[in-house]
Symmetry: C2
Subunit: 538 residues, 2 copies
Amino acid sequence: MAGDKTYVDISRAKCEQRERLIRDEWKISPKLKLGHNVLEVPKICGILTEREIAITGDNDAVDIIEKIRSQAFTAEEVTLAFCKRAAIAQQLTNCLTEICFEDAIERARQLDQDRVANPSAPWKPLHGLPISLKDSFNVPGLDSTIGMTYFANKPAEEYSALPRLLLDLGAVLYCKTNVPQTMMTADSDNNVWGRTLNPSNLKLTAGGSSGGEGSLVAMRGSVLGIGTDIAGSIRIPAICNGIYSARPSSGIVPFAGQQSPEVPGMPGIEVVAGPMATSSRACSYFMKTIMTAQAWRYDSSCLHLRWTGEQSKRKPRIGVVLDDGLYTPFPPVRRAIREAAQKLRSAGIDIVELRLPHVAEALGITFGMFALDGCKFVQNLINEGNEPQVESVKRVNLASIPASSLADYMRLNDRRHQLQDIYHKFWIENQLDAIMLPPAPQTATRFDEWGPVSYTALWNFLDYPAIIIPTGRVRESDVADGEDSALYGEADLNNYKLYDSPETYQDAPLTVQIVGMRQEDEALAGVVEFVDNILNRS
Amino acid sequence: MAGDKTYVDISRAKCEQRERLIRDEWKISPKLKLGHNVLEVPKICGILTEREIAITGDNDAVDIIEKIRSQAFTAEEVTLAFCKRAAIAQQLTNCLTEICFEDAIERARQLDQDRVANPSAPWKPLHGLPISLKDSFNVPGLDSTIGMTYFANKPAEEYSALPRLLLDLGAVLYCKTNVPQTMMTADSDNNVWGRTLNPSNLKLTAGGSSGGEGSLVAMRGSVLGIGTDIAGSIRIPAICNGIYSARPSSGIVPFAGQQSPEVPGMPGIEVVAGPMATSSRACSYFMKTIMTAQAWRYDSSCLHLRWTGEQSKRKPRIGVVLDDGLYTPFPPVRRAIREAAQKLRSAGIDIVELRLPHVAEALGITFGMFALDGCKFVQNLINEGNEPQVESVKRVNLASIPASSLADYMRLNDRRHQLQDIYHKFWIENQLDAIMLPPAPQTATRFDEWGPVSYTALWNFLDYPAIIIPTGRVRESDVADGEDSALYGEADLNNYKLYDSPETYQDAPLTVQIVGMRQEDEALAGVVEFVDNILNRS
């Protein structure tokens, strides 16, 4: 309980505390003029040195690790550079929640000294790499509010499984990132920390629920962050911010010990943790590292799947899905998937155009499973925190959601297995190595307008791994076309109409989604490397 | 519905049909005198040739496969020999349900011809090996009654996933084996096929629910059969019949497409399929074969775990548990576990004596999860079949079991995860490679007296793999001691008192259970090979 303090008081105190954890010399001059797109501000705001601009701007996570190993960089200067750039990102987009920059810099210095003391020790796979974490991960001494007043000023006492593992692998933890109130919407806005903005266009949503991560990585205040995903929460911020991200198959990346808005013991769709990064190989490297590290030692629910190192060298066969039969993609999203398919075709990839079966039914089961307790648990958290619902949560209309019985759940579960079976056969019969499809019908939208999640949530329902690859941005030529283009009824039309002009969506990133078979995350990483090379480096 | 026919009529017709599928020349002379132990009858009944006695009696599944490859045996003669020995076993113990001997012999002949036609084709891993199946597996044209009148005369139209895979791997399917009515007890007795007997002592139970398999393998009417296990149903028949068997971690061996007494979509304890065999290496070979065969292609719920071939060569560290703190093992069972521990110690194995935490609570959750629907689904099946409950089902008192709510289930599930976590830490902190413990407090009991399943069901609750190794038999020196030996209260005492004298339990097999960490089935196979060598071949 919050005692005498209102949620506004609590928020003010938390935000002031966060402000104090940014060094004065890292503060952006209030005189700096900002446009709608602030991605280049770190280079021009005068806070970063040229070397720091290069460290943070020109290297992905794999480069950073390699250059620390080759002594081109020290862990300390890398960490300092990312703390500074994260501080800049925070001031521009409000992407952070808890900050531990000074501890991070001290740890990095210690890692450097450990190397000097033990120059022949084997390198830990993440030695010296700063990794940012979604707010839901527990780090001792820091709150995990997940955007809810109820959880404010209740610092964690133990690490969640994944941060504990990352530290043991040599990583440096330096900040946590913002989420929506409840983590159940795609707009990272809440009454504790406020709203995270999209650095590509400050008038558009940063997405969610891992929206702070998306914004921070787009600003290159982080080159590797960790999000979580139950319906698209790793991928939607990647779509909105134009970064890479991977929703792994469930049970691979340790998830245990996080703050959760979900009633304990709830069965259904598996929520997973996964990487958000500036390159596809950073996502792969993360997955390889986790799958080589006996991650199950840190989380008893982890599967004992291992990275084999035996990736296929042949050209993949890829199913292309232009839309999901429920929601018509915005004109620039249609362009993005068509251009991507054309590039793959031109590169000689074996492409087969597919329609996805049973999407509406799968989505219905998914939403039924999300709300088994009628969302009573999360409503209690809001009520106990004495705070109002933010706009995107209001739109969910939590109070209207009915609870399910055990018999209801069994019916949903049985039918889920049947549909998983149908998709399994669909995959095998089409001899697929991957499916490429839009990751959403929309780009980043205006605030609180994020709509359908069918393109992302389907893969949570099936538990298939899915990776976002950025491919470009909205252009002036992506004109809004007539409402006749919306093919699938009223809900589709309402979403489609949101795309009113390319000006509204200026600089909004475009992305594609590449999906693999369940638990074939390693094989998918191989396909994505291949596809990313064709889409972005050829 | 059974129409005008009573369950007795239906049973008579099914049993006569089964009788007709055994060739006349394979029928045992009614003049043959039988003792309590019929294990040697196949050698003396005059039905098998010397060569057939040798094929079935002196070879495990791996030998059979190797000798077919080296052309020492043909698939056809092997199959014929096992059909004959299974027919003998059936006449002595009533272990079979559906029989397809003639199709099996024809398939084996075809496999032999295929080799002649394609002598350089790669060998399929199970080429020519006869494999028996628990009745719950569907094979087109055969019933899967699972001991229930309701399912009689409704032949399957499709293969379950596992038999389909086994055929693709070259196996020969020749019979299915008996189970209890409902598959929910440990006495393989039902109103369709009657009771399966224990060939070591016809007055003792063959166990269940895979009791037909246990009896058949003990008779060497099969050297590799497939059972299923949700509380011990693979292991209890192995305990009763003195054979090897493995309950794998869930999700490894394809389970899909079986006849089930469980309401569809029910969550909770995972039921698994696994091998029952005459050697530990046959169990390992089966697991290796399945884990190398992309078994997930046959069952969309299978995990993508692979056999690595990288088994540890060091001596394992083994936790020894003398009892589970709930039920006192019978005197011969105490002797068996102590002698086994002593042999391991003498062989220089690192042994640590352990007490298991939270067994009673784990067992309570397990039973709660078994009965989420108040067992209404299975009671309906019994009622629809117009048949009475058999004695062991009556003892369960199905009608008294309350149904759970979804909130109840979530509490059980949450606490299950907590206990799984506690055991996970327990395992890691004790640096265990395996735990050795009694597989039950009792040996094979008299009919319908099988009692506690805490020693087996705990590992279903935790989803740890568990393997049964036979070590000996009850001896005259295993005298019944006083009731003071029962340490854990009334339920314990009631079970303990069942051991009234070694004469009652004459020739009852003794076994130990070796448990591995979840999904470390390959590592466990290595430990078991090691332990089995010490216990049985040194």
